[in-house]
């Protein structure tokens, strides 16, 4: 391959068109007046107003947001602890199993995770009476479990890339491990923790399969409502909902990415100063 890779850049353009065209088409059709969702009938925002009056969707969105905030926060705490436990605590018995339990949820098919967690909840209830009913609580536990693995991987890569000198200096000066973690390590890994929280949040907001297994009869998260609607075919209201969700997430990710890039540049700039 030569340095003038016309072929490579053609594939790149095709790839980006492939990745983005369906989403753009979906967004355009969300402003379609026609009920036949794919035949253009003029510009309209009627599906957005219909969405605002749909209590089922709004209720499900609220429930999903609650679950996502709680599970992302707890997953960030546990995932960060896990990353510290794998990266800053030296050797101990069971470390290999720990590494395995962190990496496996990343690739485990959702149907298996969902089924196994539901069977756990059912068995626990038989033995201990807890959880009395399945719903937001069980979905939250399930989401913490798989998203803490993602947080751990993100924080761990930051810990691995980090300079140990500051932590070692603090230790040399008599800093206690907890104080060193709180005052030195945590501030340095906070961008990775923020990225991990965001990822856990979006993963929770998006999960259909695991929530379907672990939800009781009463609780329906947003993806569960969306799925039950689109299983029957294209739905104009869902086009509008998808446009809103994708727009919010894209803006959020772009802003977060831009901020992190600027921080990195600032850090790099400070390092090069004498």
């Amino acid at each position: 391959m030569k340095r003038s890779p016309t072929f490579l850049y053609s594939v790149l353009c095709f790839g980006y068109a492939f990745l983005y065209l369906p989403i753009l088409v979906l967004m355009v059709y969300s402003f379609n007046d026609s009920r036949l969702a794919t035949v253009w009938g003029g510009f309209s925002t009627r599906w957005y107003s219909a969405l605002l009056e749909n209590d089922q969707i709004l209720g499900a969105a609220l429930l999903s947001l609650q679950i996502a905030v709680v599970s992302a926060t707890l997953a960030t705490v546990l995932g960060t602890l896990a990353a510290l436990g794998l990266n800053r605590m030296g050797r101990y018995r069971g470390r290999t199993l720990f590494t395995g339990m962190i990496a496996a949820p990343l690739v485990m098919p959702e149907v298996i995770t969902g089924l196994s967690l539901l069977l756990l909840f059912v068995s626990l209830q038989e033995l201990t009476g807890w959880p009395g009913s399945r719903g937001a609580n069980t979905i939250t536990i399930a989401h913490i479990t798989f998203s803490m693995a993602y947080v751990a991987v993100i924080v761990q890569s930051r810990l691995a890339a980090m300079d140990h000198a500051l932590e070692e200096a603090a230790m040399d000066l008599g800093g206690r491990p907890f104080a060193v973690t709180r005052d030195i390590t945590l501030p340095l890994i906070s961008p990775a923790m923020a990225a991990g929280w965001l990822l856990a949040f979006t993963l929770s907001l998006d999960d259909l399969v695991i929530a379907s297994f672990t939800a009781g009869a009463g609780a329906s998260t947003l993806p569960m409502v969306i799925f039950s609607k689109v299983k029957l075919g294209v739905t104009p209201e869902i086009n509008a909902l998808a446009t809103i969700i994708i727009a919010i997430v894209s803006v959020g990710v772009l802003v977060a990415g831009w901020t992190m890039l600027r921080q990195q540049r600032q850090l790099a700039g400070e390092k090069t100063k004498p």
Partner: protein, 299 residues
């Protein structure tokens, strides 16, 4: 550790390791044991709908009630064998397609100078953050009988009747490649980025043809990324439920969908557990390979 660990230090160390450890043991590892246990049970019309593993009653004095019926049924009923084989076929071919699309893309990104490279990378990562379910749904809008593609084909006169594209195996392949190709591009990019282009020049100076350079230098050096990317696509694709459920036809049997239906439609929990155990057995080798790679990358 320089300071002598005191009581508080040991406590902190204990919390850091134990809290996530116990959580994962309880909510990740133990559940697999329960799935295994229930896969040996009989389905019952009861709450919960399966029989006990042990009979604790006094007259039998603790008898094992386990049965292999579910596994026997998996072998006897063609549906399951077909589902497993078809899942493996679809996952393998989709992985290959992801590689064919992802490799040139990752290579092109790695050759692009900064700051454009960051933008291109962000464009790969962005779909990963936006809803998986909604991106699959977007293809329903594209592929349907009155979808955009059919309308375009008919307006230029390539076809009179709308083509059946949605609810076919082809749509499932498309959906998997579409949603999983970022997982292929990112690890590939990570290895290709470190590629020393001087090696290419050296090989070319010594008279190697471009294809030879690619085969003998680029490919072997990119191999860790290729393997990681393939595993990251193949493993989750094999158990995929949403894509075959939304884009596939009735005959697009994938094992994730079969398991889901067995559980939710037939309400046969023991059989669903047996399906999950066999799926896990198929996946255990690729997952262990993935773990090894993770550990090597960590070291």
């Amino acid at each position: 550790m320089v300071v002598n660990p005191g009581k508080g230090d040991r406590l902190w160390r204990g919390i850091v390791i134990a809290a996530p450890y116990v959580w994962l043991l309880l909510f990740f590892l133990v559940p697999f044991g329960i799935v295994l246990k229930i896969s040996f049970a009989d389905p019952l019309v009861a709450q919960p709908p399966f029989s006990a593993f042990f009979d604790w009653s006094a007259e039998t004095g603790g008898k094992v009630l386990a049965t292999l019926d579910n596994y026997r049924f998996l072998l006897e009923d063609k549906l399951y064998l077909v589902s497993y084989l078809k899942s493996i076929q679809i996952a393998l071919i989709s992985t290959l397609l992801c590689l064919l699309l992802g490799f040139p893309m990752a290579y092109a990104i790695a050759l692009t100078p900064y700051p454009w490279r960051n933008l291109l990378l962000l464009l790969v990562i962005l779909p990963f953050w936006t809803s998986f379910l909604l991106r699959v749904y977007a293809w329903m809008v594209m592929l349907g009988k009155q979808g955009l593609i059919n309308q375009m084909l008919m307006s230029v006169g390539l076809t009179e009747e709308p083509l059946q594209m949605l609810y076919t195996d082809g749509a499932v392949y498309l959906g998997i490649v579409y949603t999983y190709v970022p997982f292929m591009i990112l690890p590939l990019y990570a290895t290709l980025e470190r590629l020393d282009l001087n090696l290419h020049d050296a090989a070319a100076d010594l008279g190697a043809r471009p294809l030879q350079v690619f085969r003998d230098i680029t490919l072997p050096m990119a191999m860790p990324g290729i393997i990681a990317g393939c595993l990251l696509v193949f493993i989750p694709a094999l158990g995929e439920y949403v894509i075959p459920a939304l884009l596939g036809g009735l005959d697009s049997l994938m094992i994730g969908r079969t398991l889901y239906d067995e559980f939710f439609v037939n309400r046969d929990w023991p059989l669903a557990s047996a399906v999950a155990v066999v799926l896990l057995l198929i996946l255990i080798l690729p997952i262990m390979l993935f773990q090894r790679l993770q550990q090597e990358a960590e070291a």
